[in-house]
């Protein structure tokens, strides 16, 4: 688990390295693109990375043991599988905040004073970390309780698997013990992250001496989302013209050819057709759930006293367990899987919102606005929400593919998409056993998901301000921050 954190941290560092490098040299204006690769990695399903790593590194190359849990050497592969997507996600969120930190007056002052770029970069990271800490905490707990599939693939006797088995076998003592351990861990992680946040920016929070971490200027609109969108649309459109259910067991696991551009699956069905037909169900549900989660997450995140403990508790419950609970309460209706996923999907968003809110409240411009006689409603509407929503919304988009996958992980309960429905998560799951013999069968849906992730992230940047002259237009937020800086 610690190793997974290290991997996540390294990945996160790799993701932000470019921004840091540019920021340290005060050349952030040149920053362009980026983020797609991280979004693609973040969209990778853990179980896929895990099985590919086990087969390629463990079996074929023989560099590291493919399964078991007996010592540090056995940790590397599971850590990679778990850490890569999470690290990409955290890195992407950090990357989202960094430009704001670099645009703060102290950075400018530091540059003028001749302080080295390295030192500035270090301080910028320090400045942004508190906003992410709650999510790091969530990630730690999620690793312990929610890594069921990875534990299975590497045969690790983990807490998540034990708890889930206990739940399925209705072994109440074991289930209670497991859940209790998870809740305790969640509480501990929550307390620790809060403590660290306090250590990092405590004095500034108390004195209300922070600045808003807004991007100095919106990212330059890019063509990349168009590109991703076109590819995805083309695949879907081509797929729609084919039959996703036509079985031909004689033609199973065929490599890509003219007849089957993306190959066939274990029952000889055309993968292109299945991806195309699955797109709508997958996307519609995932988008709907993400939107709900965003709404709930932001609303609850704005009430930290109420949602704090709730976040800690709900996060301790792995999604599959939540599925079991929701199914128990709501029965196995059509809406149950969506409910179950939504029930946990809001947590990281709420945590993110709370962390940002805490900082935003301590900013000087809020003090100034209050000083000018603004009421709570005005503050919320005009100052807080505009500052919070964009990063949290981008975070939600980043998690969109994850939501699509979470829906599938409930399939074994008889919830969610049932075969032969070509839902994307289901496609991945049913072809996973064949990953080694027919890599295309898992690569195609995984690539589609990765494309979706990249599209969501890049579109969030590019679509908001489609006009080219925005680049030179005045930046109200920065202006406020600057004047605040002067008055402070």
């Amino acid at each position: 688990m610690a190793a997974a954190l290290v991997v996540a941290a390294l990945t996160a560092a790799a993701v932000c390295s470019r921004t840091l490098w540019l920021g340290a040299r005060r050349r952030l204006d040149e920053r362009r693109g980026g983020g797609s690769a991280a979004a693609m990695v973040a969209a990778l399903p853990e179980f896929l990375t895990a099985s590919v790593l086990a087969v390629v590194v463990g079996v074929h190359l023989g560099w590291l043991p493919a399964l078991g849990w007996y010592g540090p050497r056995w940790m590397v592969l599971p850590a990679l599988a778990l850490g890569l997507p999470a690290g990409a996600l955290l890195g992407r969120m950090l990357d989202d905040l960094l430009p704001g930190a670099f645009a703060e007056p102290w950075a400018l002052a530091a540059a003028a004073r001749g302080i080295s770029g390295r030192a500035t970069a270090r301080q910028a990271v320090r400045r942004c970390i508190p906003g992410l800490l709650p999510n790091v905490g969530l990630f730690v707990v999620g690793l312990t309780g929610g890594a069921v599939t990875v534990e299975q693939i590497f045969d690790i006797p983990g807490l998540g698997r034990t708890t889930l088995q206990a739940a399925l076998a209705q072994d109440l003592p074991a289930l209670q013990a497991g859940t209790l351990a998870l809740v305790l861990l969640a509480a501990l992680a929550g307390a620790l992250t809060r403590l660290t946040a306090r250590l990092l920016i405590g004095p500034a929070l108390r004195d209300g001496a922070l600045h808003s971490l807004h991007r100095p200027r919106p990212p330059v609109p890019r063509r990349t989302p168009l590109l991703y969108g076109t590819v995805l649309l083309a695949v879907v459109a081509l797929g729609l013209t084919r039959d996703p259910l036509a079985l031909d067991t004689g033609a199973r696991l065929q490599p890509p050819s003219w007849d089957h551009p993306l190959g066939t699956d274990a029952l000889g069905r055309d993968l292109l057709a299945r991806i195309g037909h699955g797109a709508f169900t997958t996307l519609a549900l995932a988008v709907a759930i993400s939107a709900t989660a965003l709404l709930v997450g932001v609303l609850l995140g704005l009430l930290p006293r109420f949602s704090g403990p709730l976040v800690d508790t709900v996060n301790a419950v792995p999604a599959v367990l939540a599925g079991l609970l929701v199914a128990g309460v709501a029965g196995s209706g059509a809406a149950t899987p969506a409910l179950a996923v939504a029930a946990v999907a809001w947590v990281p968003l709420a945590a993110h919102t709370t962390a940002l809110l805490e900082q935003e409240r301590a900013t000087t411009h809020i003090t100034a606005t209050k000083g000018l006689g603004a009421g709570d409603a005005y503050l919320l509407r005009r100052e807080l929400l505009p500052a919070l929503l964009p990063p949290v919304a981008r975070h939600a988009l980043l998690r969109l593919p994850g939501v699509a996958l979470a829906l599938t992980s409930l399939g074994f309960l008889g919830l969610g998409a049932q075969p032969p429905d070509p839902e994307w998560g289901l496609l991945l799951a049913e072809n996973q056993p064949y990953a080694e013999r027919a890599p295309w069968a898992v690569l195609a849906p995984a690539a589609a998901l990765a494309l979706l992730g990249a599209l969501a992230v890049t579109a969030a940047g590019g679509v908001r301000r489609p006009r080219p002259f925005v680049r030179t237009a005045g930046q109200p937020k920065t202006a406020v921050a600057l004047t605040d800086g002067e008055t402070a």
Binding site: L67, L188, P433, R437
Partner: protein, 510 residues
């Protein structure tokens, strides 16, 4: 860059206390390679679910690892053979006399008639009752120096078969001290459990005083790995010597030399709900039977690691296979009258919608269900699939919530007696009657078979009962599975048992 370092420090603080106790201990240490035989490393598919209780699902696991034995065992032909009992006689309808051989328990005490009688009595008192004894009441008493008399309440001609069940293993008196009997150091087999590490691993050592001679391997390191791909990968990276139940999808990644297939008594069938829903109509059941093409399933879904369905008992049940092949050649020695009779004529399906349920614990089953879906749709049915985890499905199937169910069942695992499986699965009072069948003719045929004591007559009667069941079209046998066992090239003497009760024996070595 400060951030990763800082976070690593935080992570270290968070996790340092947890890390030390974090790894599973034991495992594949190369130790134990003494001059007389090295240790075997075995990966089993199902972890012990009940702390190695001999009465439940763990019983088979214990007998597969050569830990426990019963009074009798099944021979290759499915007949009862001597194990702890050297011989037996039927004194009258209800009394059997078993003569014990000279053997020692793993705790050093002798296998005495008192101990055996006590062990059997404990089994009858177990809650829930072990599968082999469901519906049976028996008492066991010492008789003379080395004999045990077993008395059943009703005449039970299949008693020696029944006593071969792994659930009726004989343990020493010491095993029954606490609330749950434990086979650790109290069984009679060639290997004894010395250390059980929860549901992840178990360490077994050779039991030197085994009555059948010392085992060649000095011990077993057993690992419980639920994921089939993980088991296969472990074998390929030489982390283990024997991998149980390699999934069909992984079979072709193994070398030919390490891949061993065994025809088993496990049959995958389509069970049709005869009590409610569309398939209450025998004509629609007949239509469904006619729509199914089993050869596609065996050839493509199971990639040839299965035989097309011929009946409830597949080709691994040698006598049934003999009887069936005799049906096509001129009748020999009384076999061959057992063809399904009285089947209904298929009716026009006319777009009837049905729900087919199955479970994904065996990864091939959802694929089978999808192929079936297409075959049934071609015949005119409208088919909806429902796939769940088995434990989430069973109660709904027994409650008749689905029209059809695709499942795999080892027809001879519990008792080795063909008649008791028919009784539990297809009669009105059956405890595991997933087809919800209640048919007078079937009940009568099964009742007749239950009365037969002569082995051959009983088998013939079982074939008649099977024919009666098939005649109702309540079940459509799809395929008879062959189980693939991955065995390292240096390993010899693995027992490939069609009844899935044995795996490691005295002759297994590396």
């Amino acid at each position: 860059m400060r951030s990763p370092r800082r976070r690593r420090v935080v992570a270290g603080l968070l996790l340092a206390p947890a890390l030390t106790g974090c790894f599973a201990s034991g495992g594949d240490s190369p130790g134990g390679d003494s001059a007389d035989g090295s240790r075997l490393r075995v990966a089993l598919a199902f972890p012990p679910a009940e702390n190695f209780s001999p009465y439940g699902a763990d019983a088979t696991l214990l007998s597969r690892l050569g830990v426990t034995e019963g009074l009798t065992k099944l021979d290759a032909n499915g007949a009862a053979a001597p194990a702890l009992a050297e011989s037996w006689t039927r004194e009258n309808d209800r009394n059997w006399l078993f003569t014990l051989r000279e053997a020692t328990f793993q705790d050093g005490t002798d296998v005495t008639p008192d101990a055996v009688a006590a062990a059997l009595t404990h089994a009858t008192e177990a809650e829930p009752v072990t599968a082999a004894l469901s519906g049976i009441t028996l008492t066991a008493k010492k008789s003379g120096d080395n004999q045990v008399r077993v008395t059943t309440e009703d005449p039970d001609p299949a008693l020696p078969l029944r006593l071969s069940s792994p659930g009726l293993a004989i343990l020493s008196e010491k095993a029954y001290g606490k609330d749950r009997p434990t086979p650790v150091g109290t069984a009679t087999g060639p290997f004894e459990i010395t250390k059980a590490n929860g549901t992840t691993a178990a360490t077994l050592d050779r039991f030197d005083d085994y009555w059948g001679g010392r085992a060649q391997a000095s011990g077993i390191d057993a690992r419980f790995t639920a994921d089939g791909t993980a088991r296969t990968n472990a074998l390929r990276t030489d982390q283990i010597d024997i991998a149980e139940a390699v999934p069909v999808a992984q079979a072709s990644t193994l070398d030919k030399g390490t891949r061993h297939e065994t025809a088993t008594t496990r049959t995958t069938s389509l069970l049709l709900n005869t009590k409610s829903g569309a398939f209450k109509d025998p004509k629609l059941r007949a239509a469904a039977r006619e729509a199914v093409d089993t050869s596609v399933l065996a050839k493509d879904v199971y990639e040839g690691y299965a035989d097309p369905g011929v009946g409830i008992f597949g080709p691994a049940v040698t006598w049934a296979a003999g009887a069936r092949s005799a049906m096509r050649v001129p009748p020999a020695e009384g076999w061959g009258r057992a063809e399904p009779t009285g089947r209904a004529k298929a009716a026009d399906v006319d777009g009837t919608s049905v729900t087919v349920a199955t479970y994904d614990n065996r990864p091939e089953l959802p694929e089978v269900a999808q192929v079936l879906q297409q075959q049934l749709q071609k015949a005119g049915f409208k088919v909806k699939l429902e796939v769940r985890e088995y434990s989430r499905l069973e109660s709904d199937v027994l409650a008749g919530k689905f029209d059809a169910f695709v499942g795999a069942r080892n027809s001879l695992l519990d008792t080795g007696d063909p008649v008791s499986i028919l009784a539990s699965d297809f009669t009105c009072d059956g405890s595991y009657n997933l087809a919800l069948l209640c048919d007078k003719k079937v009940d009568q045929a099964v009742a007749e078979a239950e009365k037969e004591s002569d082995t051959d007559e009983r088998r013939q009667a079982a074939m008649n009962a099977e024919a009666a069941v098939l005649g109702t079209d309540a079940t459509v046998p799809l395929v008879h599975q062959r189980v693939i066992t991955g065995v390292g090239t240096s390993v010899k003497g693995v027992i490939l048992d069609p009844y899935e009760r044995a795996l490691v024996g005295t002759g297994t070595r590396r």
